[in-house]
Symmetry: C2
Subunit: 348 residues, 2 copies
């Protein structure tokens, strides 16, 4: 971010015809947007885009989710049909949605070819038993994510959001967070949440899977790319690539729930400074999201109890960013309302 | 609210192609909107209107505010010019703004006549020393508020917001909350907040003024209309009338900060059941707002640290309501995605 633009925005904020500090988070957000855009006041966010990275997860066959793996493909079809939760929200808030099958365990016949054009593999390894990906697949997925971000930016994206779809995905995402925070098998319960709604027995299984996975991987988790190979998945690695490319191009990112934030944490490990280009849309009930956000120094804008995934929390937060832009752009300066007596040659 | 429509909405929510409970507050809001609209799914909120009730307060001359009373008139001019904080937010979120001078201590020369056409008086009495209004003025202000709500509704308002402007107004608003909760002079510190930003000495003066006012009024505060006369102001009484007329006409209300919520509490005392037509937009740092919200059983949608007033918190929350509407209207039902084998005469 550009500290001169952020500084100019902070100065402009202080000069607005509002009591000092009265805009709260909206004032801070406006300053952040000026910094990431390199412009004060910030530009309106007219072109906002969400990419949903879809993939399946080997752990879903091991009782960690409330839903069967076949739901992943069904939901990709629902996104393409424009009928999922995030489609409704995106239509309401003028956000473009792209869904990308990076690792769905289904051929998705009949869908537009572009949906699966960048597919890395079908499914990912069950992380407590084997690596999620090969090292080559991790690089391929990172590159897929980078390319899609670059394409969206080339088409005019001013703000990028990341979304997820994949039954079982909160398990590898929690593992990425554990790895990112240096937590081991003994700490698995700290990062395990109920996802789409597993019961107590499901949560116990999930915690055990996470503990086994972290124990299996051991010191390899100290390397972020190796973490993606061992504990991640194709969709999560692609999301990391997407976040890296967006922030390296200077395009701000609005994060969503656990998957999005776990990938931001991983991206920050790969390229320190990434988080400065990110803001957090919505607090997830998943404990790992809160741990990762705290580590990144991010505080979500919304806390509406949503746990839908799909990028829905980020899309719901887009109008908050637009509020911040409008305040810094359109509110009168105190100096306009109460000009001092004119001085200098132009004065009367 | 219509329990049949709310029930139908709850059933629809349960049938959406999302995990149970995954929409959090947005799901609950959609059900509430169906109930208040008497329609499932709820209608889009295309016509949303904010009325800002402006007035001055005798207590502002007694050191309870960080700003001088002349700011009230200056801000009314800023609203009319479309350059205040809430104007920027309203433009961003397609909310119409009307500002009404009910009790500004200024003739507001040069502004359109309609701004002050319903003026009740200039200023209001300093509530620790005298009544804010006469009984007749209270009735007049209530009627002004009712009329403006009826006018907005006749013009098509689907959702009404209330906003405030008036230096010193958090003092009478806190007094309304104290009265509504049965708190007396000894509890003044519980409802006193820093408003636009008074220092410790200012907060002490404000607490003392509140204690004196509550002690002066005594048992009269058990009657809600008498409370407005003794402890309120023209703008607050008008806001109460506005909320009563809106909710009695079955038009839902999105509440703002302390002034809005203090008036909703007073309206609930006058007409029990009013709060069922209201939802809360934003949590204020003012302690009296939280006390009143808890009493009304309302939980704000947003908590962004704003303390601007003007209706700004409510306007910022409008997109959250629109999110809720879009989800209940536009997300596929599970039964559409996974239809059972057709049966009956139309089946193949």
């Amino acid at each position: 971010p550009d500290s001169a633009s952020a500084g100019a925005a902070a100065e402009r904020l202080a000069g607005l015809a509002v009591p000092a500090g009265a805009l709260g988070r909206l004032g801070e957000l406006g300053v952040w947007l000026s910094g990431v855009q390199g412009q004060c006041p910030p530009r309106p966010l007219d072109d906002v885009r969400l990419v949903i990275f879809a993939g399946d997860h080997g752990v879903a066959g091991h009782g960690v989710s409330a839903y069967p793996p076949a739901i992943t493909a069904a939901m990709v079809r629902t996104f393409v049909a424009g009928r999922a939760g995030v489609n409704a929200l995106a239509a309401a808030h003028d956000v473009r949605v792209r869904v990308l099958d990076v690792g769905v365990d289904d051929d998705l016949e009949g869908l537009p070819a572009e949906v699966s054009a960048d597919k890395v593999r079908r499914g990912s390894g069950a992380i407590h038993l084997e690596d999620a990906l090969s090292a080559e697949e991790t690089q391929q997925a990172l590159a897929v994510g980078r390319r899609v971000a670059e394409r969206e930016i080339a088409e005019g994206a001013q703000l990028l959001l990341s979304g997820d779809m994949g039954i079982g995905n909160t398990t590898p995402a929690a593992a990425l967070v554990a790895a990112g925070l240096g937590l081991g098998a003994a700490d698995a319960a700290l990062v395990a949440g109920r996802g789409t709604g597993v019961d107590d027995a499901g949560l116990d299984r999930k915690t055990a899977v996470l503990a086994e996975a972290l124990a299996r991987v051991g010191e390899r988790a100290t390397d972020p790319v190796e973490t993606l190979t061992a504990l991640g998945s194709a969709d999560l690695a692609a999301t990391v690539g997407y976040l890296l490319a967006a922030t390296q191009a200077g395009v701000p990112v609005l994060l969503d729930g656990l998957m999005s934030v776990a990938c931001a944490l991983t991206a920050e490990r790969i390229a320190p400074g990434t988080a400065a280009w990110c803001t957090a849309g919505h607090r997830s009930p998943e404990p790992a999201q809160s741990l990762a956000l705290a580590h990144l120094g991010l505080e979500p804008l919304l806390d509406l109890g949503m746990r839908l995934g799909e990028g829905s929390g980020a899309v719901t937060a887009v109008p908050v960013l637009r509020s911040a832009v409008s305040l810094l752009r359109d509110v009168a300066l105190l100096s306009e309302l109460m000009p001092e007596a004119p001085t200098g040659p132009a004065g009367a």
